[in-house]
Structure formats: structure tokens, C-alpha cells
């Protein structure tokens, strides 16, 4: 009997070769991510045709190097958005982490203290935000907006000047390229970011916490009635985002080797845009971390394209970014809308 079913299945497979390609593209779950990936590739091909030196492997790697911090940020944001929440504080928390790192290192603290401390602090801030949202029913937008004000304010309180980082560990993290075959290099931060993505993927898909995150996005009240740990998950999600912001802040301080209170303004919007471009629904419940990584790469590619273009004035730069974003989102939307 097993044999017959198997045979039947094989038969249907050969019949529907086309279907196998099409099915995932039109599924509400995988469609948006796949289409983002395809469009990204298309963008690269177009860029490569237009600009010399664009379609090189190092440019791709540089996308990872330059956006490592944003990838980590987007990962944290993905958790939050999957539950249907939003976190506006991430940009300010990145700035705060760079400030704390720079100030403490300048004060002679060792990185072995500074790094964990920052991660604990930002996770704690996330915890506070999560509690505010869960216990007091404050809307995520507002709770995280308050956290954004707070983090940014604390930056100024620490110092309103930029502070350089000269600590050897940080310098090493910033300036030690990791060689790859073929004369290519990548930074430790980029590797770290990819590790974070892998862990996030595992957590979201292979742990009960991760599944509960999706459940919350589907319907919070249903998740509650199903007996899932809604409170814990909802708070934890903001802790995860806080942690990721802290880590992202560290990566950012590796990247810039300095702390500055005005840094990363508006980065939360980049992170949100990346997550959404990656196919995650803002209302929660659908989406993948890999999608968010793709989203970051899309934003990065737009940036790269503009630099390679090299002739755009400030305003055309903005219009161009908006335009590319529009084209991308509309294409994505139209391609996924064909399902139903």
C-alpha cells in the first residue's frame, strides 16, 4: 500500500513540474520572501550591467560588512513585528550602546566588562518596554517611542561629543579582515551577524518560544485561550529586540570605532523597512528572518547603486531611494497579489 501511494506521488510530481516552481511563489507564506530574493538578484544584474565593478563578489560581501549592524537590528525587529508589535527605539539604543561602549572604554574599562554590560543593559531596557506594553497595555508604538526618547536623552547625558574608541579588542574587531577564498575578505562583524541570523532562525522555527511568537501575531486572544505563555513571550520579544539593538550597537561601534549621540537617527525606519520588504507582515504572524536579511540587502543595494551612480545631488538621492523602494514594493506586491 505504501508502494502505491509512493508511486502515485511520484506520478503527480512529474506531472506538475511547473507547479513545483509556482506553488511556493504564490503561497502566502513563502511567496513574498522568494519574490524579494528574485528582485534582489534582478537588481544586481541590472547594476552589474550599468556600472563597472558593481557585480563583483567583494561588492556583495561589502553589503554584508557595511550592513552587519542593520542585519542584527532587523533580526530583533523581525521578532517584534512577527508578534504584531513595533520597536521604534532601536536606533536610539544603538546610539546609546555606542556611547556607553566608547565612554566606558575611554574610562579604562575592559571590553570583557563593557560588552556584556551593554548587552545586559539594552536587554533590560527591552524588558522595561515589554513590561510597559504587556502589563500596562501601552501601545508598542508609544512605549518604544518613549524608550527612544529616553535612550537618545541618555546619550546626551553621557556626552554630547563623539568619543573615539581605541581599545585593542574593538580595533581588532574593526580592522581584522577575515580572508575568504578568491582574494575576498569579510569582517568579523558580518560573520557575527550571520550567526545571529542562524540562531534567530533556529529560535523562531525550532523552539516553542519561536512558535509562540508567530502565534501572537496570528491572534493574541486566541494564543491566550490556547494556553500559550503570551505574557512571557510578548515581553521576551522586546528583550530580544533590546538585546539585538545592543549587539547591533556593538557592531556599529566596531564599524565606526566611536560613540556619538546623534548616530543612527532614523535607523529604526530602515530596520522596519527591511523587515517589511523581506515579506513580513506588519500585522504580525507571517514572515522569516531570512526575508529581513534580504530586505537589508535590498536597502544596501539601493545605497550602493546610488554611490556608483555618483552624480545624484542630495535631493535626487532621496527621490531615487524613494523611487526604488516604490518600484520594489509595487513589484513585490503585484507578484504576490496574483495568488488567491
Amino acid at each position: 500500500m505504501a508502494a502505491t501511494t509512493l508511486a502515485a506521488r511520484a506520478g503527480s510530481r512529474s506531472r506538475d513540474v511547473l507547479d513545483v516552481v509556482r506553488r511556493p511563489l504564490i503561497s502566502p507564506k513563502y511567496g513574498p520572501v522568494l519574490i524579494t530574493a528574485l528582485l534582489l538578484v534582478a537588481m544586481f544584474v541590472l547594476g552589474g550591467l550599468r556600472y563597472t565593478g558593481f557585480a563583483s563578489a567583494q561588492v556583495v560581501l561589502n553589503l554584508l560588512v557595511d550592513n552587519a549592524y542593520l542585519i542584527v537590528l532587523a533580526v530583533g525587529m523581525t521578532f517584534v513585528i512577527l508578534t504584531g508589535g513595533i520597536d521604534l527605539s532601536v536606533g536610539a539604543v544603538v546610539a546609546l550602546s555606542t556611547m556607553i561602549a566608547a565612554a566606558m572604554l575611554a574610562g579604562g574599562w575592559s571590553p570583557t566588562v563593557v560588552v556584556p554590560l551593554i548587552l545586559i543593559l539594552t536587554s533590560f531596557l527591552g524588558l522595561l518596554v515589554g513590561l510597559m506594553i504587556h502589563v500596562f497595555g501601552v501601545q508598542p508604538f508609544i512605549a518604544t517611542l518613549a524608550a527612544m526618547f529616553l535612550a537618545r536623552g541618555l546619550c546626551y547625558v553621557i556626552s554630547n561629543r563623539s568619543i573615539s574608541i581605541e581599545d585593542p579588542f574593538f580595533v581588532a574587531m574593526a580592522q581584522t579582515p577575515v580572508p575568504l577564498p578568491g582574494d575576498l575578505t569579510i569582517s568579523p562583524s558580518a560573520i557575527l551577524a550571520l550567526v545571529v541570523v542562524l540562531i534567530a532562525f533556529f529560535v523562531l522555527h525550532r523552539t516553542r518560544f519561536g512558535r509562540t511568537v508567530y502565534a501572537l501575531g496570528g491572534s493574541e486572544s486566541s494564543a491566550l485561550l490556547m494556553g500559550l505563555p503570551v505574557a512571557r513571550t510578548k515581553v521576551l520579544v522586546y528583550v530580544v529586540s533590546g538585546f539585538c539593538s545592543g549587539l547591533s550597537g556593538l557592531l556599529f561601534s566596531f564599524y565606526t570605532l566611536s560613540g556619538y549621540s546623534l548616530t543612527a537617527i532614523g535607523t529604526e525606519l530602515d530596520a522596519i523597512a527591511a523587515v517589511v520588504i523581506g515579506g513580513t507582515l506588519l500585522t504580525g504572524g507571517f514572515g522569516f528572518v531570512w526575508g529581513s536579511v534580504l530586505g537589508v540587502l535590498v536597502l544596501g543595494t539601493i545605497q550602493t547603486t546610488i554611490t556608483f551612480e555618483g552624480t545624484l545631488s542630495s535631493w535626487w538621492t532621496k527621490i531615487f531611494i524613494g523611487g526604488l523602494l516604490l518600484v520594489f514594493i509595487i513589484l513585490q506586491r503585484l507578484l504576490t497579489a496574483r495568488r488567491q
Binding site: 517611542l145 536623552g153 523597512a273 517589511v276 514594493i329
Partner: protein
């Protein structure tokens, strides 16, 4: 008594009063309103006038939020309107004439409407999530505004235009009058007709509303157009107030202030029931907060922390959990009083 405490707007109003008191302590003349050169003059008037643009944007935002949407592009739309008006006035042979100014204002508001249609189309026809749809215009719109001014600050010397931002009508600042008119218009338009109910219903349950025959698509268009129009008007007021178009800074972050005002006013970001009155209180809270920073002389480096504290305070006080705690406390209190009465 319980009714008052549990009213949605109780805590925002209390907070507003607290801020007033703080100001009064820092500066005893805070409540003084004099008549100077035939118009009202005083801190409260400043709060009203400076808060007018935020309020106007927040009114539009309230309706957008009621449909479960959000409009991040208001600042950019305002900047475009301002830039356009200034460049039209500058290019005209007679910048000081009323007709020039009226033309400029009408054209720029028309453009604002078009931008609203654009947002509406992205959201309702193409079905892009509002936050992303408006993010596009937020980014590109600033660019367009700068394109119009070529990145310069366009200073106009046109008395009729200046009136919009800092003129007076019967002693009351024109900006305040405009805000009041928009507020009343929005309130009447949505509450005296069925528009408000239909908007709320689309916000709460779009599919159910569709099945009930609500024209959700047209409604979304209308709401985004209205919001863009509000943004355009606010942009003109801001621009006229400084008699110059500053494409970079006009209305920068006004979307955050507006959203904050809406939420402080008790409208939920998940759509549905909205309160324009709440938005009014919210906008006043925010502007008073800003003014407080200036009058009390809070050092710039702690301003943000102060803002955070206030926002957290109002949110926590407004929260249902706090309400429940207060109710419990009152019950216990009453019970004790009863016991004492019996004894």
C-alpha cells in the same frame, strides 16, 4: 467621581494641568494674557499658536489611524507645500499681493491633495501596508521639497503670506483660527454625517465592513487625502511663520508628534474608535511640554529624558491596569469607610 477618573481624557488633562503649574512656578506670568497692538499676547497664546500645526496634522492623522493606517509622510507633504508656495510667491512679479498668495496657497494645497491621492492609491488600490506606503513619500517627498527649493532656504517677503503664520484675526492668531476651523470641520463632517462611523467600522473590521457595503476604498482615499491636506495646511503655517521655506526642517518629525498626540488622546493605533477631542488635548500636551522645556530652562541634554518621562507617565496613568488598581483601592477605601460607619 469614578466616572471622571475613568474617563479616557482624565489623565491627559491632569497632565496638561500639571505642566501648566510647573510653568507657573517657573514663571509667574505664565497665565497672563495681554492685549498688545490689538492682539492677544502671552504664553498660552504661544502654546496655542505653535501647537496649531501639530494639531492640524494630528486631526488628519486621527482619521487615518482610525482606519488602521498611519501616515508617515505628513512632514514631507508639509515641506512640499511650503516650498511650493514660497517658490511661487518668489517667482511672481508681485510677492506682496493677496492674489499671488492666494494662488500660491491654493496650488500648494492642490498638490498636497494629489500627494494624498497618491498615498491613498498605494494603500487602498495596490494594498501596500500604510507604514511602508507612506514611508516612500516620506523619503522621496523631502527630496521633492528640496528639489523645489534647490536645497536653499527660500525667504519670502510677503506680508499677506506672513499673516497665515503669524498674523491675527480679531486678535486671535490666524493659525489658531485655522486649526479651530479644521477641527470643527472634521468633527462636524465625521460626526454629523455617517462618515465617522463608517471610518471606525472599516478600521475595526475591514472585511465585515466591506460585506456590509461600506466603500472602504473610497473611504481610505478620502482619509489619506484629508490627512495630506491637513499636512499641507500645517506646512504652510510653519513656512509662513518663519517666512521662509526650509525644505529640510519644515515639519521634521511632526509625524511622531502627531501620532503621539493622537495616542495620548486615547485613539488606538489598531484602528477603530477615535476621539478628535482627545487629539486636541494630546496636541496641547505635546506643545505645552515643548514650551515647558523652554520656559523652565531644562538643559538641552536632558530634554529628551524629560520628554520620555512625561510620555511614560501619561501612558502608565492612562493604562487599564492602573485604572483597575485605582478601582481596587477605592473599593477597599469604601469598604473601610463602611466598616467605620457601622462601628
Amino acid at each position: 467621581m469614578i466616572k471622571i477618573i475613568s474617563h479616557r481624557l482624565f489623565w491627559p488633562v491632569v497632565l496638561l494641568l500639571v505642566l501648566f503649574v510647573v510653568n507657573l512656578v517657573a514663571f509667574p506670568g505664565f497665565f497672563r494674557i495681554e492685549v498688545k497692538d490689538g492682539h492677544l499676547f502671552g504664553s498660552l497664546i504661544d502654546i496655542l499658536r505653535n501647537g496649531a500645526p501639530t494639531l492640524i496634522v494630528a486631526i488628519g492623522m486621527t482619521l487615518v489611524i482610525a482606519t488602521r493606517g498611519i501616515d508617515l509622510s505628513v512632514g514631507a507633504v508639509g515641506a512640499i507645500a511650503g516650498a511650493l508656495a514660497c517658490s511661487i510667491i518668489l517667482d511672481s512679479p508681485d510677492p506682496g499681493s493677496v492674489t499671488t498668495v492666494v494662488t500660491a496657497v491654493l496650488v500648494s494645497l492642490l498638490v498636497a491633495v494629489v500627494l494624498g491621492l497618491w498615498n491613498g492609491a498605494l494603500v487602498s488600490v495596490i494594498g501596500i501596508q500604510p507604514i511602508v506606503a507612506t514611508l516612500i513619500l516620506m523619503t522621496a517627498g523631502r527630496g521633492v521639497a528640496m528639489l523645489i527649493t534647490e536645497g536653499q532656504i527660500l525667504t519670502v517677503n510677503s506680508p499677506p503670506f506672513k499673516v497665515i503664520g503669524s498674523g491675527f484675526l480679531l486678535g486671535i492668531p490666524v493659525a489658531v483660527v485655522v486649526a479651530a476651523v479644521i477641527f470643527l470641520a472634521a468633527a462636524l463632517l465625521t460626526r454629523q454625517t455617517a462618515l465617522g462611523m463608517l471610518i471606525e467600522s472599516t478600521g475595526v473590521n475591514p472585511e465585515a465592513s466591506r460585506q456590509a457595503g461600506v466603500r472602504a476604498r473610497e473611504l481610505l482615499f478620502a482619509v489619506y487625502v484629508f490627512c495630506a491636506l491637513c499636512a499641507g495646511i500645517a506646512g504652510l503655517i510653519l513656512t509662513a511663520n518663519q517666512t521662509a521655506a526650509d525644505a529640510n526642517n519644515t515639519g521634521l518629525f511632526i509625524e511622531l508628534d502627531a501620532i503621539l498626540a493622537v495616542v495620548i488622546g486615547g485613539t488606538s493605533l489598531t484602528g477603530g474608535r477615535y476621539s478628535l477631542l482627545g487629539t486636541l488635548v494630546g496636541a496641547l500636551v505635546i506643545q505645552t511640554l515643548i514650551t515647558t522645556v523652554y520656559t523652565v530652562g531644562i538643559p538641552p541634554i536632558t530634554t529628551m529624558v524629560f520628554k520620555a518621562a512625561v510620555v511614560v507617565a501619561v501612558c502608565l496613568l492612562q493604562s487599564p491596569a492602573t485604572g483597575a488598581a485605582i478601582r481596587r483601592w477605592r473599593l477597599r477605601h469604601l469598604a473601610r469607610a463602611d466598616r467605620q460607619a457601622v462601628a
